[in-house]
């Protein structure tokens, strides 16, 4: 009756991947099942926002500046200085901002979520909850994943603004760029779909960060060391997934949405 244990190389990795996707699916399904844990969602939202906002802003200013300086000096060499603004805005809004947000949410909030869920798991709190007929996924994971997603989307707006403002400052003050040209090139190169895809990326990245953190938190190896390892892995796995998904989404976007003026 029992299925023989397969020992195909790579099977374990595939199994983990499958479970991760299953958890993501369950989270989506459970989101619409009542009772909705509004209180937990608000608490988690508040917590994630409070740990993520400040570091995100502090990272986004130099990041926007670096992009702006680099693009500015390159554009100067090419003699296209008037387009610096548009180019750096595209880079910040489309690429830098969603990634920064997701990395910081994963690093600051995801690790906390993973550690929290992991220590609850090894203390059998999850089992206790299931025994009482309460689904830990509905009760604990769904609010956390939704909070990660929502904070990512909202923070993405903030980072875009701060990054662009930082870029403007450094271009105009340090590289003697023209304020008018910087602003004018926005509308020459950038378009609204750039912002949409940026927010869509932030949404998906936030979701990934939340699901991966929860998945590792729900399945740690036994013992306190297992929880530590789980936190570590959750951050690394999230980073890997983020850059891969970003590549795919960028490629699709560039195929599907024509560049402005093209």
């Amino acid at each position: 009756m029992t299925t023989p244990q397969m020992s195909v190389p790579g099977a374990a990795a595939l199994r983990q991947t499958g479970r991760l996707f299953a958890l993501a699916g369950t989270v989506l399904a459970m989101t619409f099942r009542r009772p909705f844990q509004l209180r937990e969602l608000i608490q988690q939202f508040w917590f994630i926002a409070s740990v993520a906002i400040l570091p995100t802003m502090l990272v986004s200013i130099p990041f926007g500046a670096v992009i702006s300086l680099q693009v500015g000096s390159l554009a100067k060499q090419l003699g296209a200085q008037s387009l610096t603004g548009g180019a750096s805005v595209l880079a910040v809004v489309q690429q830098a901002s969603p990634l920064i947000v997701a990395l910081l949410i994963s690093g600051a909030a995801g690790s906390a979520i993973c550690a929290d869920l992991g220590s609850r798991t090894i203390r059998e709190e999850m089992d206790a909850m299931e025994v009482m007929g309460v689904s830990p996924i509905q009760r604990l994971v769904v609010p956390r994943v939704l909070a990660c997603t929502a904070v990512a989307v909202l923070l993405n707006g903030l980072v875009s603004v701060v990054g662009v403002a930082g870029g403007y400052f450094f271009n105009v003050e340090l590289q003697d760029g023209t304020p008018g040209a910087y602003l004018a090139s926005f509308s020459a190169l950038a378009q609204l779909p750039d912002l949409y895809v940026s927010e869509l990326k932030a949404l998906i990245f936030g979701f990934i960060a939340g699901v991966v953190a929860s998945y590792r938190g729900l399945n740690p190896r036994p013992g306190p060391k297992g929880v530590g390892d789980a936190v570590n892995q959750s951050v690394v796995v999230t980073f890997l997934l983020l850059f891969f998904v970003n590549l795919v989404m960028t490629a699709i976007y560039l195929e599907v949405v024509p560049a402005k003026g093209a």
Partner: protein
């Protein structure tokens, strides 16, 4: 009234290691059962399998028509609300204080008002001796207190099946005795089917109606308390005496060489005179508690079983019942004497209310060990 749990052909392994195989037993409705076994024989895994937390590869666990192993999650979740599980270390939610922990199932599954919840929670906390500790969080209290809080949380929904995972570990002997009494009282009050997993011999020999024992991947014994205690099986006998001599070793089983050496040593030693194993009296509900209907059903069930039992087992059952009846009589007499003393001390005062201790079920009049035909 409790419900029956029927386990059939349950087999569980982790990877290539078989934990136990083909376990078949029935927890009769409303009766108390103890599951014994050396450390590491998968007693806790068995408990978690009953409630569907761990999925065995093979077999079924039937609870009122629901198969906790193979049925879809939705049905299993609904069936779980009829269980109360007391975890080994309490498994309290670290972020909530004791009051909120114990109120958790009520708030999740009932529409009771806060006032009602408060009444129930305080009553259960009082029952397990935690009154006044409501505001503490699980990190602030000792392991024994966490365990008792875990029991209170398991009791709060008035479950029909109560599973206790090592209720005695980490408790001092007095608290263990109180806890045993508490479990029996709870059983008398709500008639829940109970399974206690333990390796405490004191609990195993005085609390349950039935005893089962897991050893080396098998259920080696399951039956009425008296017959298992009196069993001649070397594994059970060694375990119940807590003796180092026998098949159970420090690792799970002794190897052949060690056993042979031991047998040789035993052969050289003068053999002690074989005397019948004493069957201790079974614990009875406290004065003021109702009769245990599980005990009455158990007695009827065992009576029906008697003719098919071997002589020694039937004799053990008779001795156990006599011991229980004697202990009950002694307790009743002591209580009566105390009541009389109290009455004579305060003559003008109204008679203090005395609760007679519940009586054990009577011996069947035709009770006679088989083989003793008139």
């Amino acid at each position: 009234m409790g419900i029956e749990v029927a386990v059939e052909g349950l087999t569980k392994s982790f990877g290539t290691q078989t934990i136990w195989r083909d376990v078949t037993l029935t927890l009769p409705a409303g009766e108390v059962t103890v599951l014994l076994g050396p450390s590491g024989t998968g007693k806790t895994v068995f408990l978690k399998s009953l409630i569907g937390l761990i999925k065995p590869e093979d077999g079924t666990v039937r609870v009122d028509g629901v198969d906790m192993v193979n049925d879809p999650d939705r049905r299993v979740f609904r069936a779980r609300k009829r269980f109360g599980l007391m975890f080994q270390d309490g498994a309290m939610f670290g972020s909530l204080n004791l009051y909120d922990n114990i109120a958790f199932p009520l708030r999740e599954h009932t529409r009771k008002t806060e006032r009602e919840i408060r009444r129930i929670v305080l009553e259960k906390m009082d029952t397990v001796g935690l009154a006044g500790e409501e505001k503490k969080v699980p990190g602030q209290i000792s392991g024994g207190m966490r365990k008792r809080a875990g029991l209170a949380r398991a009791l709060v929904m008035d479950p029909e099946i109560i599973l206790c995972d090592e209720p005695d570990s980490g408790l001092d002997p007095v608290r263990t005795a109180h806890l045993s009494q508490l479990l029996i009282d709870v059983n008398a009050r709500i008639d829940a089917t109970m399974l206690i997993v333990t390796h405490n011999i004191e609990i195993a020999s005085t609390v349950p109606d039935n005893i089962g024992m897991l050893y080396r991947r098998d259920l080696v014994a399951f039956g009425p308390r008296e017959t298992v205690i009196a069993s001649e099986d070397p594994v059970i006998a060694q375990f119940l005496r807590g003796s180092p001599e026998g098949p159970i070793g420090m690792s799970e089983e002794k190897d052949a060489a060690l056993l042979a050496e031991e047998a040789a040593r035993a052969a050289n030693r003068p053999r002690p005179v074989a005397r019948p194993i004493e069957i201790p009296a079974q614990l009875r509900p406290s004065p003021g508690e109702p009769e245990r209907s599980g005990e009455i059903r158990h007695a009827a069930r065992v009576d029906a079983l008697l003719p098919s039992l071997p002589h020694a087992a039937a004799e053990a059952i008779r001795r156990g019942r006599v011991a229980t009846a004697e202990a009950a009589a002694v307790a009743a007499a002591a209580q009566q004497a105390a009541a009389q003393r109290a009455a004579s001390a305060s003559q003008p005062a109204p008679q203090p209310e005395t609760h007679p201790a519940p009586q054990p079920p009577p011996l069947p009049p035709e009770f006679r060990p088989p083989g003793e035909t008139p």
